[in-house]
Structure formats: structure tokens, C-alpha cells
């Protein structure tokens, strides 16, 4: 009987239900879209933040103090400790290996460049542009300055990581006009008297906006051979996707309880990633580059919070729309309620019928709204981040539950109102 009453109400007057259903569909579509975006905005923005470049710097632990002014290391090449190039592949074996987006080694060698009889003292910066690194599991990972220094712009093209080629910093090229043009061959030597020279072909002029503008960038192997330190490097910049710091990440891992330690270890905080790197590369010092890491963490946390507030606003808006339409439905159906009550329905039966209708509507409206919302989130992800948001089926029950709660809560106030209806005056038409 109850089911028939509910069913009849849908069949007899479908138009009346459309308004509520429409409110639910729109509300839930927006809720789904905002929830989807809010859920993965952290990951997506973290990826965007990689345009800031590396957020971790790895140096040998027992290194002497670098004498670096304006990005140029004034230390003699034979001084200080080095990192092994061969062990760098281990970075992709740590627990959070998938969060390591890229890493680039740097080896600075003071050098004399002679070209067309002009001798210029400068620095040779050995690095990778797009180097295939051998990972211990047998695969290869392409990384280099293209990943960690995305703001470097080159005129011409980059050197090949295995060729005797180089790119010249824009500042150096500008101070020696006409000397460093693309296609020229330059000779580099460690110093004027030492015989060991190497010819390199200039393939491009690079604009970095930093100290490298006054240097010559070469493949790492070239700088290694010239300095007499094959297979070694001095600094390693690592770009990793991280989670904003919170109260847990700020604590010293040694003081954490076993459970908290696991949680810390298994979260991609910058502190836990650097801890894991230190374990795999013993004898190194891994530091978060504070400017980048702190700024990133704070902005990510703020945008995340902001989006949750906006999502709440969307949910509140949806609840309001549904509540408003539910209130009208009850008011419109005063006559019906009067008759039901007159023939003996209790308040709870009347409320039951209405709530059952609302929940049914919520399920239908919620499902349609979910589908629309997924489409909306897809478009949103595509337009904002260039890649569509992934479908999260987990959200379907959440959205349906939300729709049901909103629909029920929205009808509660008018139903309480309806409980006070007296059948007689209503049926008299008052």
C-alpha cells in the first residue's frame, strides 16, 4: 500500500516532481564537480609547482665549503667531495619513487674557452638535458634540466647528452658578440697552460636568468673528462611532488611513535622524501630548498582549504535549492495531506510517504547529477590543467548519500508544518 501510494504520486503528477528533481540534478552535478576538483587539486597543483624547478638539493656530506658567488664555484676542482653519477639511478627506487619527477647533476669546472683566437675565462657547467638514466631495476628514466629547470630557454637546440656539443649562456654570448654563434666550434681547456683541450660544437644560446647565463653548458661527461673526475658530480637538484607540510611533518622523526612514524614515512612530505633519499645515497646531505618548498607547501595548503570552502558553499547552495522546492511541494499538496489525515493516516505515515518520495527523487536526481558532474569536472580539468580529471566512482555513493540527506533535511521543516494541518479546514478549502 505504502509503495503504491508513493508510486502513484510519481505517475499521477510527474510535473510536480520535475522541479525538485531538477534542483537535485543541478545541485549534485555542481557538488560532484567541485568535490572531484577539490580532491585532486593537491596533486595537480603540486605538478604545476614543478615549473618552479627543483625543491631538493643533494650535496656530498663531507664536502668542503663551496666558494660559490653568483652560482659560480670558485673552489679548485680537486678540492672537496663528489657524488657518484652511477648511484643516481637509485633515486628512482625509494618508496616515493613515482614522486621524483626529475633530477639533474651539476659539475662546475673553471675553464678557458678559445674560439677564433679569442680566449675567454669562464665556467663549464656539466649537466644533463635529457639523459636516459639507468635505474637499478633495468629500466631507463629520462631526466635532466628539461625537468628541473623548465624556465631555461634555448635559441637553437640543446646539446645531445652523449655528443661533444655545448650551449652558451646568453650573457656570455652578449659580452663577446659574434664569437659564440650557433654552429661554431670552440676549444675548451682547464687552464691556459694545460694541454688537454676539447672541441665542442655550439648548438644553442641559453637564457636562464641566473648565473648559468655567463657559463658554457656542456653534457656532464664532457665536464667530467675535462676536470679529471670521470663519473663524478658535485650537486644534484631533485624535483619531487610533495604534500604540504603539516604538524606531523614538522616533528623530528626520531621522536615519533611507531604509528606516527609509519604515517610520516608513507606520506610524501618533503622531509620524508629527503630522509628516504639519504638512506639510498649514504654520505650525502639532502636539503629542502626553502624558498621553493615552503612557498609551494603554503600555497598548496591555502588553495586546498579554499577549494573545500567553495565546495561547502556549493553543497549549501544545493541544499537550499532542494529545501526550497521541497517546501513548496508540501504546501502545494496540502489538500492531499488533508484527505490522508481525514481518512486516518497518522503524521508519521504522511511524513513517511513524503520522505520516501524525496529519497527516491534524491537517488534518481543524484545519479543523473553525478553523471553531469563527472562531465563538468572533465571539462574543468581539461580547461584549467590541460588534462581531464579522472573519474572517481567512490564519489557516487557519497553524492547519493548527500542528495538523500539534503532532500530529507530539506523536507523536514515543511513536514513539521504539515503535522499541524487540521484536515477539516483544509477540506473546507480554507
Amino acid at each position: 500500500m505504502f509503495a503504491r501510494l508513493v508510486g502513484e504520486s510519481f505517475v499521477r503528477n510527474p510535473r510536480r516532481k520535475i522541479l525538485t528533481a531538477a534542483a537535485l540534478v543541478v545541485g549534485m552535478a555542481v557538488a560532484t564537480a567541485t568535490l572531484t576538483v577539490a580532491l585532486d587539486v593537491g596533486d595537480r597543483l603540486a605538478r604545476e609547482f614543478r615549473s618552479l624547478g627543483a625543491n631538493l638539493l643533494i650535496t656530498p656530506d663531507s664536502d668542503t665549503l663551496p666558494l660559490e658567488i653568483g652560482g659560480v664555484d670558485y673552489r679548485p676542482v680537486d678540492e672537496g667531495a663528489y657524488l657518484d653519477e652511477a648511484s643516481l639511478g637509485k633515486l628512482k627506487t625509494i618508496f616515493w619513487r613515482h614522486n621524483i619527477v626529475g633530477f639533474t647533476p651539476f659539475l662546475d669546472v673553471p675553464a678557458v674557452v678559445s674560439v677564433d683566437g679569442v680566449k675567454v675565462h669562464t665556467t663549464l657547467v656539466g649537466t644533463w638535458y635529457e639523459h636516459a638514466v639507468l635505474i637499478p631495476d633495468g629500466t631507463k628514466f629520462k631526466t635532466g634540466a628539461s625537468a628541473t629547470h623548465p624556465w631555461w630557454k634555448v635559441q637553437g637546440h640543446w646539446f645531445h647528452d652523449d655528443a661533444n656539443e655545448c650551449v652558451v649562456g646568453a650573457g656570455l654570448a652578449a659580452t663577446n658578440p659574434g664569437v659564440f654563434s650557433v654552429g661554431k666550434t670552440i676549444n675548451v681547456a682547464k687552464s691556459e697552460n694545460v694541454g688537454r683541450t676539447q672541441s665542442l660544437t655550439v648548438t644553442g644560446i641559453v637564457l636562464t636568468g641566473d648565473a648559468e647565463d655567463r657559463a658554457v653548458l656542456t653534457p656532464l661527461s664532457v665536464a667530467q673528462n675535462l676536470s679529471g673526475h670521470p663519473g663524478k658530480t658535485r650537486q644534484l637538484f631533485v624535483s619531487a611532488l610533495t604534500k604540504p607540510a603539516d604538524s606531523l611533518s614538522e616533528r623530528d622523526p626520531k621522536t615519533l611513535s611507531a604509528k606516527d612514524y609509519d604515517r610520516w614515512f608513507c606520506s610524501p612530505y618533503i622531509s620524508s622524501i629527503s630522509f628516504q633519499i639519504r638512506q639510498f645515497l649514504p654520505g650525502t646531505d639532502v636539503r629542502a630548498i626553502r624558498r621553493v618548498a615552503d612557498t609551494e607547501g603554503r600555497i598548496l595548503a591555502r588553495i586546498g582549504l579554499l577549494l573545500w570552502i567553495v565546495t561547502l558553499a556549493a553543497l549549501a547552495g544545493a541544499a537550499l535549492a532542494v529545501a526550497a522546492t521541497a517546501a513548496t511541494t508540501v504546501l502545494e499538496r496540502r489538500d492531499e495531506i488533508g484527505i490522508m489525515k481525514a481518512i486516518g493516516a497518522t503524521n508519521s505515515i504522511v511524513a513517511g510517504i513524503f520522505l520516501a518520495e524525496q529519497v527516491l527523487l534524491a537517488l534518481v536526481g543524484g545519479t543523473i547529477g553525478f553523471c553531469a558532474g563527472v562531465g563538468l569536472a572533465w571539462i574543468l580539468g581539461e580547461s584549467v590543467f590541460g588534462t581531464p580529471s579522472s573519474l572517481r566512482v567512490v564519489l557516487l555513493p557519497v553524492v547519493l548519500g548527500l542528495a538523500a540527506i539534503i532532500a530529507i533535511v530539506g523536507s523536514l521543516i515543511p513536514l513539521r508544518h504539515a503535522a499541524h494541518f487540521q484536515p477539516a479546514p483544509i477540506l473546507r478549502g480554507e
Binding site: 555542481v30 618552479l52 624558498r291 535549492a321
Partner: protein, 399 residues
């Protein structure tokens, strides 16, 4: 008569109107709060980017690293000439927080710190020493707010102070801690300093020692000269590049260049986040608008009986529709205004919660929100036009 009827209408059905009014007020509150946010987000975000540190460098022209090889003096820049251009009314003392007048609307904040670099020796070991103004470089409003200082006290800039800041690596290598005395040697000059702070920057500065600029200048014998000046300019990427160009024109003798790592990423991130917030705000605007529309449509449908009665009493349809449109219009206006005020409070809270500073209310939001609300309310009442076909007798009979 019209106003009396309108008043009666509003007064008599208070109960129902309250529901609609609640919907209107909350809708308007959400809309105005989000609009406020949307207009303020760029400023808030550029302020957040401040922690990225310097984004513009003023350096001597054409310093190639070639210059260092010989006994050649490294090129320096005259401090006073730069400060004069940066701000003629520059306050004495730190932090250097100034505004360049003609770019004021787009540029929010400006911090600048001078550096004089040289290679000195501490206990026989060579180390890079930077002379700077502590407050301007490391202070809470200085250039590098993310750098951590391990210290017993706060940074205070004392001219010629014998205190120094040492990088974390320096402290480790030379086994120094807060309070240790160090003797800094440059050529044949010696100078005593006391370690006051240990710096953790995660960058090259961890291997450097910083002393007061005046002390460094007197040690090197180069009064009033510095190696470079770093600036933090806040604003949209366009405003920053305009500012850089402007500065370069005023200082033709020096090289003024933006630090591309920072400026490029900033611009990119700013536009992404703005687009994200904008699209979310638009979604919610549409949703809230629809919600108000639905509420008003429901309210209008309830008026059928009143319309029937009025028609029976001889009211012309245009007059009746006018009456109801006036009713929803008034409701929309009241709801919009009240919602705006609630929205200001909401955005204030949101700003405090998310950014730690309030989002300032913009007066443009008020008319915009009220207009939106009245528009949505009137659109919701459009079904009333159909009342033209209403047969009074049918309605009055209660069918």
C-alpha cells in the same frame, strides 16, 4: 493603492516569504563572498609568492666570470645611486618596504637587500662572505622570509654590528655555534665577529657567512659600493616586467634582470590558480542563481489563488502581474542587500581562515549582487505571465 496592495501582500504571507527570503539572502551571501574572493585572489596570491624570495637583480654590467681570473677588481655598483632611483623618500632603516609611485596599483610590496660578496678566510679556510643589511635580507619583512634562523634573539639591524649570520654548512665545517667568536680575514685585514644566528636556506647561502654591510665595506675599503642588489617586486608578471624595464631605463649603467625561475613560474601558477578559482566560482554562481530561480518560481505558483481573486474583482492582468513582479523585485532587493552584508562577513572569515588576512570588501560587489538577485527573482516569477489564461472561477472553486 498599488503600494498598499504590495505591502499587504508582503505582510500577509510572511511565513512563506521567510523561506524565499532565506534562500535569497544565503544565495546573495555566497555570490557576493565568492565575487569578493575572485577579485581579491590575485592580490592575495602574489602576496603568497613573496616567500619565493628575490625576483629582480641589479648587478654591474657584463660581469663575466672572466673578470675574476686576473687580479682585476670585480665590478661593483654604487649603492646610493640605486636607492635614489628605487625610492627618493626611502626611510632610513630597515626593512626596506617602499612603493614606486607610478606602479602603485599593480605592485603590492617591494623589499630590497644589497649584497657585497668577497672571499674571506676564517681559521685559514676560504669562505664566501656576504655583507648585507640583516633586517632587509633575513627579517620577517625582508627578502627571504623562508630562511630559518637559529637564534636566541630577533634580527636587529645594528649599523657596524660585530654580529654575523653563518650558514648551516659553515657552522658544521668550522664547528661553530651561536655565540662563538670568529676572526674574519681578508687579504691582510682582520676583523672579529660573534656568531649570532645560524642560517638554514637549503641553498648556496648555507655555505656563506653574512656580516653587516658597513663592516664588509670598511674591510674591503669600498665604502658605499655593493656587488648586487636583489629586489622583491610583487604583482602580475606584466607589472613586474614593466617595472623591470622602467628600472633598467633609470639605471642604464647597471644590468637589471628578472630572475626567470621565479617570475616565469609565478606567472604560470598565478594564471592556473586564478582560472581554477574562477571556474569554481562561476559554477557556484550558476547554481545559486538557479536555486533562487527555483525558489521564486515556487513562490509565484502559490499566488494562483490570489490572482484568481484579483481577476474576479476586476483587476487587469498587466496590473496583477506588475504587482507580483514588484513583490518579487522587492524581495530580491531586500535579500540581495542583506546577503551582501552577510557575504562581506563571509569573505572576511574566508580570508582570515585561508590567507590569514581579511579579504577587503569591494563596493562594486553590492550593486552587482543586488542586480543579480533581482534578475534571478524576476526570472523566477516569469511563469506568472501564464496567469493571463487563468479562469478566476476555476481557481476560486478550488480546482
Amino acid at each position: 493603492m498599488f503600494t498598499r496592495l504590495l505591502w499587504k501582500l508582503l505582510h500577509a504571507s510572511r511565513g512563506r516569504l521567510v523561506v524565499a527570503l532565506v534562500a535569497l539572502v544565503s544565495g546573495a551571501a555566497v555570490i557576493s563572498a565568492l565575487l569578493n574572493l575572485q577579485f581579491d585572489i590575485e592580490r592575495k596570491l602574489t602576496q603568497e609568492f613573496r616567500t619565493l624570495g628575490a625576483n629582480v637583480v641589479i648587478a654591474p654590467p657584463n660581469v663575466t666570470s672572466a673578470a675574476r681570473s686576473a687580479a682585476e677588481e670585480p665590478a661593483l655598483i654604487d649603492e646610493a645611486s640605486v636607492w635614489k632611483v628605487l625610492d627618493p623618500n626611502l626611510p632610513k632603516g630597515n626593512p626596506r618596504e617602499t612603493r614606486v609611485e607610478e606602479l602603485k596599483p599593480q605592485l603590492e610590496f617591494l623589499a630590497a637587500a644589497p649584497y657585497l660578496y668577497f672571499i674571506g678566510r676564517v681559521a685559514g679556510a676560504p669562505v664566501v662572505v656576504g655583507g648585507t643589511q640583516f633586517g632587509a635580507a633575513f627579517g620577517p619583512f625582508g627578502l627571504e622570509p623562508t630562511w630559518k634562523l637559529e637564534t636566541g634573539g630577533t634580527i636587529q639591524a645594528v649599523e657596524g654590528s660585530p654580529s654575523c649570520v653563518i650558514g648551516r654548512n659553515v657552522a658544521k665545517q668550522l664547528k661553530l655555534s651561536v655565540g662563538s667568536p670568529i676572526e674574519l680575514q681578508y687579504l691582510d685585514q682582520h676583523r672579529q665577529f660573534v656568531v649570532h644566528w645560524i642560517l638554514d636556506s637549503g641553498a648556496a647561502q648555507d655555505s656563506q657567512i653574512f656580516v653587516d654591510l658597513r663592516a664588509a665595506q670598511s674591510l674591503l675599503g669600498v665604502g658605499g659600493q655593493v656587488s648586487l642588489i636583489q629586489l622583491r617586486v610583487n604583482g602580475t608578471p606584466k607589472a613586474i616586467s614593466q617595472y623591470t624595464a622602467h628600472l633598467a631605463a633609470l639605471l642604464p649603467q647597471y644590468e637589471v634582470r628578472p630572475i626567470r625561475q621565479v617570475t616565469e613560474a609565478e606567472g604560470e601558477l598565478l594564471s592556473r590558480i586564478r582560472l581554477l578559482i574562477l571556474s569554481m566560482v562561476l559554477l557556484i554562481l550558476v547554481l545559486t542563481g538557479l536555486c533562487v530561480l527555483a525558489t521564486m518560481a515556487a513562490l509565484a505558483m502559490e499566488r494562483r489563488e490570489d490572482v484568481g481573486l484579483m481577476k474576479a474583482l476586476g483587476g487587469s492582468i498587466s496590473r496583477i502581474v506588475g504587482l507580483f513582479l514588484a513583490e518579487v523585485g522587492v524581495l530580491g532587493a531586500i535579500g540581495g542587500l542583506a546577503g551582501c552584508i552577510a557575504g562581506v562577513a563571509l569573505s572576511h572569515w574566508m580570508g582570515q581562515r585561508v590567507f590569514g588576512t581579511a579579504i577587503s570588501a569591494r563596493w562594486e560587489i553590492f550593486p552587482l549582487t543586488v542586480a543579480l538577485m533581482v534578475g534571478a527573482a524576476l526570472a523566477g516569477a516569469l511563469p506568472l505571465r501564464r496567469l493571463g489564461n487563468v479562469k478566476p472561477a476555476v481557481i476560486l472553486r478550488g480546482e
